[in-house]
C-alpha cells in the first residue's frame, strides 16, 4: 500500500518526514533499551508539539495564503477539552490507558476543528489583515473565557490539572500524532483539494472563475489546521500535567508564526526544521542564560528575526541574495522550471493540429519525465 502520496516529486522532497520516522524509531529503541532522561523526553515532546503547530499553521498561512494569529486559541481549546475529557474518563479506563490518550487527543482535535469551522465560516469572508485581527480576537476570547472558569470546571486562573501518563511512552504517542499530522498535511497538499487550496492563495477570483468552491476549500484548510492545533494542545496538556490559559495569548500564536516564516512560508520541510531548531535552541539557551542573562535570549531572538526577514525579503538586497543562494551550492543543475519538451524525432512528420499542441505544450512542473533529456532547450516563453 502506498502510504505517502508522492505525486511526481522525488522522495528527497520528504527527507525531513523520513528523518522524523527514523528519529521516532531511534528514540523508541533507546527508551526501551537504556531509558531516556526526563529532560530529554520533555524536550522531545516540546519539539514535536512545536512541529505539529508549525506544520498546521503553514497549511493556512503558506498554502491557503491567509494570515491567522489565533492558532494558540485552537491549541488552548484542544488542551482544555482534551485534558478535561482525559480527567473525567481516567477512573473508568484506568491509569495510563492508551485508549484514554487516543480518545482525548481525538476529542481535543475535534473540538478545535468544530470551532475552526464555526469561526471560519463567517471569518473567511474577510481578507488578509482583517482575518488576522479576527483570529487574534478569537484567541484572546478563548483565553479569557478559560481564565474565568470556576475551579471545579476548568481550573480557572490556577489552570487545569491533567492525568499523568507514563512519560516513558507518552512521547511515542506524540511521534505517532506527528507522523499522522504530516501524512494528512502532505497528502492534502498534493491532492486535487490541495491544488485547489493553493490556487485560492495565488488568485482567489481566478480560482472562483475556474469553478473552485472557494468557501469550501478555505474552510477545509482552516478546519484541518485547527484540528491539528487542537491535537498539539492535548499533547501539550499531557506533557506538562497542567494547562494554564495565560500561556495561549497572541504572543504564542506569533511564536508559531515566526517558526513558519523562518522555515519558509509554504514549505512543510522548512516548518519542521525551523520549529524543531527554534524550540531546541530556546530550551538550551534557557538553561545557559539564567537569571539576569535570560533577557538576552529574547534580544538575540528579536535581532535574528529582523535580520533574517530583511535579508530574505528586501527588494534592494535581491542581488546579494542571488549571489549567495545556499540552495545553488547543493543543487547546481537546477533547471529552468519552464522547459519546452524536446523531441526532435517527431519533427519528421508533418505536425497536425493536435500533435502541434502536444509539441509546444510547456511543461511547467518540476518535471521528472525530462530527467533523461540531457540537452534541454531553455524555454523562452
Amino acid at each position: 500500500m502506498k502510504i505517502f502520496h508522492f505525486g511526481r516529486k522525488s522522495l528527497s522532497h520528504y527527507y525531513s518526514t523520513f528523518a522524523i520516522i527514523i528519529a521516532a524509531i531511534v528514540f523508541f529503541v533507546l527508551s526501551i533499551s537504556i531509558g531516556l532522561e526526563k529532560s530529554t523526553i520533555f524536550l522531545l515532546e516540546k519539539v514535536i508539539i512545536a512541529v505539529i503547530l508549525a506544520v498546521s499553521l503553514n497549511l493556512v498561512v503558506g498554502f491557503l495564503g491567509e494570515l491567522s494569529l489565533g492558532h494558540a486559541g485552537f491549541m488552548c481549546l484542544g488542551a482544555y477539552l482534551g485534558g478535561k475529557f482525559a480527567t473525567i474518563v481516567e477512573p473508568t479506563l484506568g491509569k495510563d490507558s492508551p485508549l484514554n490518550l487516543v480518545l482525548s487527543i481525538l476529542i481535543g482535535g475535534a473540538v478545535a476543528a468544530i470551532f475552526g469551522l464555526v469561526i471560519g465560516l463567517p471569518a473567511l469572508r474577510l481578507k488578509g489583515d482583517y482575518l488576522a485581527i479576527v483570529t487574534l480576537g478569537f484567541g484572546e476570547i478563548v483565553k479569557s473565557v478559560f481564565q474565568n472558569t470556576t475551579r471545579e470546571s476548568f481550573g480557572g486562573a490556577l489552570g487545569l490539572e491533567t492525568p499523568r501518563f507514563n512519560k516513558d511512552y507518552l512521547f511515542i504517542y506524540c511521534f505517532g500524532a506527528l507522523i499522522i499530522s504530516l501524512w494528512v498535511s502532505i497528502n492534502l497538499i498534493n491532492s486535487k483539494h490541495g491544488r485547489a487550496i493553493t490556487s485560492i492563495r495565488d488568485n482567489e477570483i481566478a480560482a472562483r472563475a475556474t469553478g473552485i468552491n472557494v468557501t469550501k476549500y478555505k474552510l477545509l484548510a482552516f478546519t484541518v489546521s485547527s484540528f491539528f492545533a487542537g491535537v498539539a494542545g492535548v499533547l501539550y496538556s499531557f506533557s506538562n500535567y497542567n494547562v494554564q490559559s495565560s500561556k495561549f495569548g497572541y504572543n504564542y500564536s506569533i511564536e508559531i508564526l515566526v517558526m513558519v516564516v523562518l522555515g519558509g512560508i509554504g514549505s512543510i520541510n522548512g516548518s519542521i526544521i525551523a520549529a524543531a531548531l527554534i524550540t531546541f535552541i530556546n530550551t538550551e539557551l534557557a538553561q545557559i542564560l539564567t537569571g539576569n542573562l535570560a533577557v538576552l535570549q529574547n534580544l538575540f531572538y528579536a535581532i535574528i528575526l529582523i535580520v533574517i526577514v530583511i535579508y530574505g525579503n528586501s527588494p534592494a538586497l535581491a542581488g546579494i541574495r542571488e549571489k549567495y543562494d545556499p540552495s545553488k551550492l547543493f543543487d547546481k543543475k537546477r533547471k529552468d522550471p519552464s522547459t519546452i519538451k524536446k523531441d526532435d524525432a517527431k519533427w519528421n512528420k508533418i505536425p497536425t493540429k493536435i500533435a502541434m499542441d502536444e509539441l509546444l505544450s510547456v511543461d511547467v512542473s518540476n518535471s521528472d519525465d525530462n530527467e533523461n533529456d540531457t540537452n534541454n532547450t531553455k524555454g523562452g516563453n
Binding site: 498561512v61 474577510l126 482583517y130 485581527i133 479569557s144 508564526l257 531572538y301 528575526l305
Partner: protein, 290 residues
C-alpha cells in the same frame, strides 16, 4: 450619578484608545503595513516619562522629552527596519514589526528590569459636583484627547503635508508622479504616530501608574482592534472605534457579572462588527480585480 462617572471614564479610556488607534490607522493607510511595534512605542514613552519624572519631577517636561524621544525612536525604526522592506510582501513587514516589538520589550527589560516601576504623579483631589466625583486626570485625558483629535483632523485637511498624506493613502504611485516625496510622507506619519503614542503613554500612566516592559501590548492590541472596528485607514474611523471600545470597556467593568470577560466582550464586538461590515464602520471596500 454612577452612570455619568462611567460614561466620563469610558470617554477618557476611549480617548486614549483613539490616540493609539490613530497611529495604527495612519501608518496602515499610508505605508499599508500593520505596525505591531506601535504598542511598544507607548511603553518607550512611559519609561521616558518615568525616568524624567524622577530627574526633574515635572510632568510637563517629562512628557515633552517623551514625545521627542518617541518620535526619534519611531522614525529610526521606520528607517532601519521597515524602509528596506518597502515593496516586499506584507507578511514579511508584519514579521519584522513583530521582531521590532520583541526587541523593544527585551531592551526595556534589560535596562529597567522585569519588576514593574511606579511613576509618582502629583496628587490632585477629585472634583466634586453634587454627588458626582470626577478624577482630574480623567478630565485632563478627555480634554487633551479631544484637542489632539481636532488638531490632527485640521492638520490632515488643511496643510500641504496632511493632504500629501491623504493622497499617498489614496494612490501611492500617482502621488509619487505628482512630485511628492512619498518616503518623507511615510516618515512624517511615523513621527506623528509615535508622538501620539507617547501622549497615550502618559494618559495610560495617569490611569494606572505602574509600568513594565509589556505595558504597551494590551492597549496596543485594543487600539488596533479599535482601528479595525472603525475601518482601518480611516482617521475618523479610528476615533469612533476608540471611543466605542472605551465606552464598552467602562460599562462592562461596572457590571460585576461580565466584568471578568471585558476583554472577551471587546473582541467579540470586533468580530460581530466585521461580520456585518467587513471593512469596519467607516472603512471603504475596495473592489478587487484579477
Amino acid at each position: 450619578m454612577e452612570i455619568i462617572t462611567t460614561l466620563i471614564n469610558g470617554l477618557s479610556i476611549g480617548g486614549i484608545y483613539a490616540m493609539i488607534a490613530l497611529g495604527y490607522t495612519m501608518v496602515y493607510g499610508i505605508a499599508k503595513m500593520l505596525n505591531f511595534a506601535h504598542g511598544d512605542i507607548i511603553m518607550v514613552g512611559g519609561y521616558t516619562i518615568y525616568v524624567f519624572m524622577n530627574i526633574t519631577g515635572h510632568p510637563l517636561i517629562a512628557v515633552a522629552v517623551a514625545v521627542v524621544f518617541c518620535v526619534l525612536i519611531g522614525v529610526t525604526i521606520e528607517k532601519v527596519a521597515y524602509k528596506p522592506l518597502r515593496g516586499a510582501s506584507p507578511l514579511a513587514v508584519l514579521i519584522t514589526a513583530i521582531g521590532v516589538s520583541y526587541l523593544l520589550q527585551s531592551l526595556a527589560q534589560i535596562i529597567f528590569g522585569s519588576a514593574p516601576k511606579m511613576v509618582q504623579f502629583p496628587d490632585i483631589k477629585p472634583i466634586q459636583i453634587g454627588s458626582l466625583k470626577i478624577q482630574v486626570y480623567t478630565l485632563i485625558t478627555l480634554v487633551a484627547s479631544i484637542i489632539v483629535m481636532v488638531l490632527l483632523t485640521l492638520f490632515v485637511k488643511y496643510t500641504n503635508i496632511g493632504r500629501a498624506m491623504l493622497a499617498t493613502s489614496e494612490d501611492r504611485s500617482a502621488t509619487e508622479l505628482m512630485g511628492i516625496n512619498v518616503n518623507s510622507v511615510i516618515t512624517i506619519t511615523f513621527a506623528i504616530g509615535s508622538a501620539l503614542a507617547a501622549l497615550a503613554g502618559l494618559f495610560y500612566l495617569l490611569k494606572a501608574p505602574n509600568i513594565s516592559n509589556t505595558f504597551g501590548s494590551m492597549p496596543g492590541i485594543k487600539a488596533f482592534t479599535a482601528a479595525v472596528i472603525g475601518g482601518i485607514g480611516s482617521i475618523p474611523g479610528a476615533m469612533l472605534g476608540g471611543i466605542l471600545l472605551g465606552m464598552v470597556e467602562a460599562i462592562s467593568y461596572n457590571i460585576p457579572a461580565i466584568a471578568p470577560y471585558t476583554d472577551a466582550i471587546e473582541f467579540l464586538i470586533l468580530i460581530v462588527i466585521l461580520l456585518v461590515k467587513p471593512a469596519g464602520i467607516l472603512g471603504k471596500r475596495r473592489r478587487e480585480k484579477v
